[in-house]
Symmetry: C2
Amino acid sequence: MKKIIGGVTAAKGFEAAGIAAEIKYKGRTDMAIVYSQKPCVAAGTFTTNVAKAAPVKWDQVQVKDVAHAQAIIVNSGIANACTGAEGYGYCKETADTAAEILGIPADSVLLGSTGVIGKQLPMNRIKAGVAKLAEAKKAAIEAGTEAAKAIMTTDTCEKEIAVEIEVGGKTVTVGGMAKGSGMIHPNMCTMLSFITTDAAISKSALQKALSDDVNDTYNMISVDGDTSTNDTVLVLANGMAENTEIVEGSEDYKIFAEALHVVNEYLAKKIAGDGEGATALFEVNIVGAETKEQAKLLAKAIACSNLTKTAIAGHDANWGRIICAMGYSGAQFDPEKVDLFFESEAGKIQIAEDGVAVDYSEEKATEILSQPVVIATADVKMGDAKATAWGCDLTHAYIEINADYRS
Amino acid sequence: MKKIIGGVTAAKGFEAAGIAAEIKYKGRTDMAIVYSQKPCVAAGTFTTNVAKAAPVKWDQVQVKDVAHAQAIIVNSGIANACTGAEGYGYCKETADTAAEILGIPADSVLLGSTGVIGKQLPMNRIKAGVAKLAEAKKAAIEAGTEAAKAIMTTDTCEKEIAVEIEVGGKTVTVGGMAKGSGMIHPNMCTMLSFITTDAAISKSALQKALSDDVNDTYNMISVDGDTSTNDTVLVLANGMAENTEIVEGSEDYKIFAEALHVVNEYLAKKIAGDGEGATALFEVNIVGAETKEQAKLLAKAIACSNLTKTAIAGHDANWGRIICAMGYSGAQFDPEKVDLFFESEAGKIQIAEDGVAVDYSEEKATEILSQPVVIATADVKMGDAKATAWGCDLTHAYIEINADYRS
């Protein structure tokens, strides 16, 4: 596997664009298209939130029931969530508009929205935006980056990645883009992530590869514990790499699934590290667990703890908060057996042994905790299972961003 | 029922004191005693956190196995959590010291600790503190207030209440004190709460009244979603009101349980409203639910949502975050049937009807959300069950307090 430059336009036959439609923001782009020159097999995973946004409901139907997808239209600024029948109608209207302009069936148009909840989309601007996107879309790498920028809300940087693998003698590319960065506590998948590949792959294999992988990637990150109404991951595969079709259980499937994992994990970590107001990516490793499920519960509880996250923000080795979070995670373990370590590019130190503090240097701990990527590892000494979760620190900027987000 | 002045010393035969032992803080009190002139029936509920603090383990044994309790010794500054066998040994040492000085059995001494996790208690100061407490304890109302002040950590004010009821022609008093104000997301009971009563009541009736009531009071508050290692509620009943012993199922039991509820709810709300950095108590009512369990899940999800809490801090009617939190609560409901209202001393307005925004005044909403007590009510229109949860807003001060709490 080789990491290459690019995102959603890295794979053969994919085009993209990002344009300014003035949905809510001024002076920036806020609509994006991902378009495939050929119809695609599609897979998706969506929020488990009962209050699903209209575009989530739209995509669920299309991904499940429709054979081929060819375009994704995304807007930022307004989430089209809590908008009732009117909001769902706007999904149909957007898809109809895109279908007509692009000359494809309306049910091959997938949708994504992100931004403020409870407001209706300004449909005149959305429709004008779709026309501009159809005009602007290109296969260039830069066009993928433009799309990745247009879907940002409070994100501070675009998030994209592409990798190349070899499948049956053919070069297959998998690329993707995602956005965070608040209301991030995915329970199925994250806010918005769009993956493209030129692999030829069966619909069921694509869906299985995605569904399996979100549990170890997007579902293991958290910014603020709030599971969004809009969480969506979509994968489009257009087959233009001309490999023999990948089916479940094959060697090719394993190679493809690993490439998809690399893309998903990269994007998930980018979302966590660029959480609202974050100054550090906080990686939590649980090792020595009895089961993977137990390791995941423990890792997520630590990554989600407001108190642990504020301690990271303060570069303070307040390790008791980590044991505390493990304690209420729902997983059983012996707190008096836990070994705890902090690690970053500044070094690695042990903080606790068998659940009590060792004689570590607070100065060194603070130095380690002051880096942009901070890793905490807890060994519960019960078995061989492990899991990793990703979060970020909780800072003043999170409050600033969210105390008055709508204005 | 009559609310009267006082706290843990309001009931007959109870004495208290708060003194400075320099456990961690300078220039303030940090040890308290609650003492009964006669042996008491005791009841307790404790954190469900797997990583239980040493004093929690100590109290669990005493409350369950020992017939009578007579004193509670509490320190703030250090939580005696994650301290292993050494920390538990210090519990025994503290109880032995208190027993000797007070002339009571060691197993009638209950303990509470609150503060930083992972540090050992300075036992010389603790022992000197116990001696000072034994000397200083008084039955005066002010002595109860001194105890309530000494158990504070990041609390901004002491929390106490007392009520009088009539039981079989006798006046019975129930009083209590509690402290928050971070790591507050009780799952059994809250950080520390101590209730005293002169009621004559059976041990089983006292425990049942407490266990039933914590589910509607302490277990319905949250400051930061972190379930503490130290959560403890203790009730001591010394029988000095000379009423006929209250037993389960009687009319007197109902009267007593209601008084206990008033005391618990008052203290729980005080803890939520005085959450770290909070400027507002945030009360969340769910009405029209199918079951109480469903109503509780919905109410707690809203009260715990970081995004909702920062919106309250910003006086911003970002109601979509409330529907979103309900959506990931785990409870089933129809988001497109929810009516939503905001209320405070500045008035009441409807924000959403059937899950979509009504045409409300943002200016009025901001005025309502700028008060010290803000109430959100969601009607899910499914039945008659309801529940209330209490939280607080999430502000810069929370970050300030917690980014470097240990220093």
